[in-house]
């Protein structure tokens, strides 16, 4: 149902006429949904006022940030958080940065690098919100997921402003667990729905030491930016191994020695995507690299805090790779390619070249847990991709999966995806079926994949958490105005 004139006027009074629209013609710009309205609040107070009006009028809302594809019900009010785009604070002493939702990771990261810091860049890419919760290339040293969310400013579905963690008691952002109210399990649920109702309007993200340069010495023109020189204390390599077991053993040893700034279990197809500037070139390079690699592998960045530290890390890396019969991929030893990958993986988080460029879409199954176990599951999922590759329904990446260690490898993430042309209904259907079947298999084999759901199916296997969650949602959203899929997209 569209907004009534009175309702529209009430929202307009909050944000101003230029920051609200119910014009149907421009809604496809967002998604193929008839939203009741799209609203651009500028700060927490306006978000709060809008949410209070949603409660008053019993209208459902959902927020978005940079917002990749999503599914939205009709008649929803879309709160586009684009105007909340400020870096509020970078606290070097306590190692956190406070940001609004539309600060993208590339912006925050650039500011941090100048100060000798970095933070967790999510796999979705540095084009996404710096507040986004998730995992990415740098997990080995910057951890991932909710561990990096410190204090949060949250406008609840009823329009209350809740300040979590340290913010709730000391008006400071340094900790997510207290001395104020933690409520971490509500604010960052890892299981479906995966996001919290309401809107996060500010969050503190945890910072980490950055041993690299204040800015990379980039040269050339798009789409081929290269580094004038590889920073003297950094090195990037790709190693392939004769077996999954040997690769995993090397990964564990590297984690134990804590020498890798990044350890990314890229497959050769993903390396090819990242170092090439178009689809045709990618196919050629992948074919060439497929012959160069001896089996599964990973990409590594080491970064020293001194010349001695760098030399030590290099030596340990070479020894561990040798002990496990690893071979360095010559293509990546070329300084030009090495530089491209350094920049791609730390500053861009690779993502778009390796996901959307080929056909326009991909479906993924990310799976968390101990890497050696999740890799076993992923090998099966990779085999299940092969018939789709043979039929030409998905891009041929050799059936490969990828993944990485988190916090030097005591935890890990494994992921596998199918790239396809979303305009091809047969391909779309085949990929959806593959995703469903492999997610079900993960569930049966007691792995946790974030594609699992719905809640009432997986809840019973997880202490009936869904029943508790439903009670919590009812308590914080009595009018049911904030449907699933909320706070950070």
């Amino acid at each position: 149902m569209p907004l009534t004139k009175e309702q529209y006027k009430a929202f307009e009074d909050v944000v101003g006429a230029e920051n609200i629209t119910d014009d149907k013609a421009i809604m496809p710009a967002y998604y193929n949904t008839d939203f009741a309205a799209i609203i651009l609040p500028k700060d927490t107070a306006e978000v709060q006022a809008c949410i209070k009006l949603c409660n008053k009028f019993k209208r459902q809302f959902r927020p978005i940030c940079t917002g990749w594809s999503g599914m939205f019900p009709k008649d929803l009010i879309l709160l586009d958080l684009r105007r909340l785009n400020k870096i509020i604070e970078i606290n070097e002493k306590n190692m956190y940065a406070v940001v609004e939702p539309y600060v993208i990771s590339a912006e925050l990261q650039a500011e941090l690098m100048k100060r000798g810091f970095n933070f967790c860049i999510k796999g979705a890419g540095t084009n996404c919100s710096a507040m986004l919760r998730g995992h990415g290339h740098l997990d080995q040293t910057t951890s991932g997921d909710d561990r990096n969310h410190l204090a949060i400013e949250w406008v609840t579905p009823e329009g209350e402003i809740v300040k979590s963690g340290a913010l709730g008691s000391a008006d400071e952002w340094f900790c997510g667990d207290g001395p104020g109210p933690s409520i971490r399990s509500i604010l960052t649920s890892a299981v479906p729905p995966g996001v919290t109702p309401g809107v996060f309007t500010k969050a503190a993200v945890k910072l980490y030491h950055w041993p690299g340069p204040a800015a990379y010495p980039i040269q050339g023109h798009s789409p081929k930016y290269t580094l004038k020189e590889i920073p003297a204390n950094m090195m990037a390599r790709y190693y392939s191994f004769p077996s999954v077991e040997k690769m995993w053993n090397a990964e564990i040893k590297l984690g134990e020695n804590e020498i890798c700034y990044e350890l990314m279990g890229f497959n050769a197809a993903m390396v090819a995507c990242n170092i090439t500037t178009c689809n045709e070139e990618e196919e050629e390079v992948f074919a060439k690299m497929s012959k160069e690699v001896q089996g599964p592998g990973f990409f590594v960045i080491i970064a020293g805090n001194s010349r001695e530290d760098f030399e030590f890390k290099k030596k340990v890396l070479e020894q561990i790779v040798k002990d496990n019969d690893g071979i360095s991929l010559k293509t990546v030893e070329d300084p030009e390619i090495e530089g491209i990958l350094l920049c791609q993986c730390t500053r861009i988080s690779a993502s778009i070249r390796e996901t959307f460029r080929a056909g326009g879409a991909f479906n993924s199954i990310p799976i968390m847990g101990q890497r050696d176990l999740t890799i076993k599951w992923a090998i099966g999922a990779g085999k299940a991709k092969e018939p789709l590759i043979e039929k030409g329904l998905i891009v041929d990446d050799g059936g490969a999966f990828f993944g990485w260690g988190v916090e030097q490898g005591h935890l890990g993430k494994t992921e596998i995806f199918c790239k396809f042309d979303p305009q091809n209904p047969v391909a779309k259907k085949a990929v959806e079926t593959w995703q469903k079947e492999q997610t079900e298999r993960a569930f049966k084999e007691s792995y946790f994949a974030s594609t699992m759901g719905p809640q009432d199916e997986i809840g019973p296997a997880l202490c009936n958490y869904h029943l508790w969650w439903q009670k919590i949602v009812k308590a914080i959203d009595p009018n049911g105005v904030s449907p699933e899929g909320g706070a950070l997209v």
């Binding site: 149907k24 651009l40 400020k86 650039a110 084009n127 460029r357 042309d421 391909a427």
Partner: protein, 421 residues
């Protein structure tokens, strides 16, 4: 071409928002990270390239849904192409082309902008994109320049509408003429007979008006029998070099921007900037000299059925890589005493001055707002002057300076060169 031909490209948009920003690895912080003036000012996703592509794809499926807001989106775009550069760092798809086709479709359907209609009516009537005051070649009085309609010359200097008619911009034409004279170039102008290149009509979406004008102008140039055309206007440069080639009008005419030509003359020793010019400057890349000035690539092909968005024959995309970036910089650096400090957004990911795509005429406030952002960026470098290579840029940037009271000066590269020789 038609919107339909870009269906696949529009459907490729994954709504990643990179089109709003400069390429990620070039971002230096929270300042000057945006590349698209339209989304930076108007905020609704519809104003970004991604939003425009998604609207275009929906229009092909469900038909055009004209509303005032849609037309506001359509006409508040400078067609500067920065979105395409950022997108095409990672993606293989056309971006500016479908956006341009969408606007042309609006015009075809009669959903025009009155301010732009007026400009096009003026073009049809007077052969100029700007109001005509006096004679087109009056600026050249007393300079003793050759009339290329009467005398055979090696180089034709095409002055352009704004430089010819705007009293504030005529200084650029005079500077260029004096520089070419100093270098001993056998050049001429068309004077009162010179006609508009038509390029700004194309940017505005009036393809038929552009083609009609372009054919007349090219016929005149062919008649003059010149092999090389030099222009001081970035819009003119892109029109002659790229658009005329695209529509098979250019033939073997060599098209050079004045900065390319001066760079060549300096490197050949025919022009010597000997005098010292003490000045801290920064350089603004005009969109149509830079990213949109790269040569047209003639291509026809079909998508290969299957999982990838690839074509037979393979399609080479224009990603802004081969624009004119170095020659103006080399010219500036050749002048003793001039210190060049770069801004954050340069070359292929340069921020637009605001004047393109008809915005200068349809929404002058937005044009000045865009220019003001560039002024802020220039000031942040510590430069005392912003140097560009296009009269449209200089005019719009000066308007912003006037509006804000900034002490920054704006010069064209040719003005610095003239001081130095």
């Amino acid at each position: 071409m038609s919107l339909e031909q870009y269906k696949g490209d529009m459907e490729m948009c994954c709504r990643c928002s990179t089109c709003k920003f400069i390429p990620m690895q070039k971002i230096q912080g929270s300042d000057f990270s945006y590349v698209c003036p339209s989304i930076a000012k108007y905020n609704f996703h519809a104003y970004s390239a991604g939003g425009r592509m998604n609207i275009g794809a929906a229009a092909l499926k469900n038909g055009m849904n004209y509303t005032p807001k849609l037309l506001d989106v359509v006409y508040n775009c400078q067609m500067c192409g920065a979105c395409g550069v950022s997108c095409n760092y990672a993606m293989d798809m056309e971006v500016l082309e479908p956006i341009s086709e969408f606007r042309m479709k609006c015009i075809e359907d009669g959903k025009t902008n009155p301010a732009l209609d007026k400009v096009i009516a003026g073009l049809k009537k007077t052969g100029s994109m700007v109001p005509v005051k006096g004679k087109r070649g009056a600026w050249a009085t007393g300079l003793k320049l050759k009339d290329a309609t009467k005398v055979k010359v090696d180089v034709l200097y095409h002055v352009g509408c704004l430089t010819s008619y705007d009293p504030e911009m005529q200084k650029l034409a005079k500077s260029i003429a004096r520089i070419l004279q100093k270098a001993g170039v056998n050049f001429g102008i068309l004077g009162d007979a010179e006609m508009c290149c038509g390029g700004r009509a194309y940017q505005m979406g009036y393809k038929d008006a552009f083609l009609a004008q372009a054919k007349k102008t090219m016929a005149q140039i062919k008649k003059a029998g010149v092999k090389t055309l030099v222009t001081g206007c970035a819009d003119g440069y892109q029109t002659f070099k790229v658009l005329y080639d695209r529509f098979n009008l250019k033939g073997d005419l060599e098209v050079l921007h004045i900065t390319e030509y001066i760079d060549r003359l300096i490197k050949e020793g025919k022009l010597k900037p000997k005098k010292k010019v003490e000045m801290n400057v920064t350089y603004h890349d005009p969109c149509r000299l830079g990213r949109l000035g790269e040569p047209w690539i003639h291509w026809e092909g079909k998508k290969i059925p299957g999982d990838r968005f690839v074509f037979d024959p393979p399609k080479e995309y224009r990603r802004g890589t081969k624009g004119i970036y170095q020659p103006p910089r080399d010219v500036i650096k050749s002048i003793t005493g001039v210190k060049l400090t770069e801004m954050t957004r340069i070359m292929e990911y340069s921020w637009c001055c605001g004047a393109g795509g008809g915005v200068n005429e349809s929404n002058p406030d937005f044009a000045v707002w865009t220019a003001q952002k560039r002024i802020d960026e220039a000031v942040s470098t510590g430069a005392e002057a912003l140097v560009s290579a296009c009269p449209w840029c200089e005019k719009t940037l000066n308007k912003a300076i006037k509006a804000s009271g900034s002490s920054l000066k704006v010069y064209d590269v040719v003005e610095l060169v003239e001081r130095a020789i």
